[in-house]
Symmetry: C2
Subunit: 167 residues, 2 copies
Amino acid sequence: MKVLIISADNFEDSELLVPMYRMLEEGYEVYIASIEKGIIIGKKGYEVQPDLALHEVDPSAYDVLILPGGKAPAVIRQNTRALEIARHFMETDKPIGAICHGPQILISAGVMKGRHATCYRLVAEELKGAGAVYEDAEVVVDNNLVTSRIPSDLPYFMRAIMQVVKQ
Amino acid sequence: MKVLIISADNFEDSELLVPMYRMLEEGYEVYIASIEKGIIIGKKGYEVQPDLALHEVDPSAYDVLILPGGKAPAVIRQNTRALEIARHFMETDKPIGAICHGPQILISAGVMKGRHATCYRLVAEELKGAGAVYEDAEVVVDNNLVTSRIPSDLPYFMRAIMQVVKQ
């Protein structure tokens, strides 16, 4: 099982690290992709070395997509390659986990119309504006799409992602 | 399943948060105990609200003990109640996970003689001095005792802990 995590500087540290370590615990291969290959630094100061720049990613090679939150999605959503990758996962119904500001990337990819989802409180209006059915819950599962709101939702988020991945 | 995490200010954030979220994902109850009940703050700035002060802990009520690293163990190891709790877990062969500087608490509790273990590099000499058989590995499992060295060992640490807990 190959997992792709897309993020950038100012990621919410726990929202990247917890899924990364959880997937590695499970024995999955985890790949981090960012704008460029240089080290990215989280809001709290954790450093992560990307494996790939976004332009190098072949999304058909990955089984799961994780979109952590923080301030990174505001940058990632402006990257056309990131949006193409997100569309590939949605069109092929492969598991996607997006938390906090992570769903902003899916909004910009134009794939949220009619989908049930949650996100960080301040992103909710934007999510509704993109045609999604917003729910205020620890986790919302809509077929392949798993979304959560904040770091303390991570246990619910990871439990749901592992269930969707193993279906 | 009831999990007890003992830590204090300047904990290594990921070494507390990753086990906490992982255990909650599994459906276990997680309790944080510290010197006092006030909020504790990690080295990177994450805030955690303890459920209990150490003097309130009845160790027989818990099934798993987790000792995260960072600078917290240097303080915790001076707390006689913390050492009594650690001894209870060792004497009753209940699962203990200690990572990074976490094993310092077990050293002060006087329970490492003859036990196979690992720890943060700079703690290794002290661990050997306490009579332990030190190994430089991602994780060392010695019956009920699971130890690791650094945050990037967390996938191995959590995989081993979950196996020991489920035995």
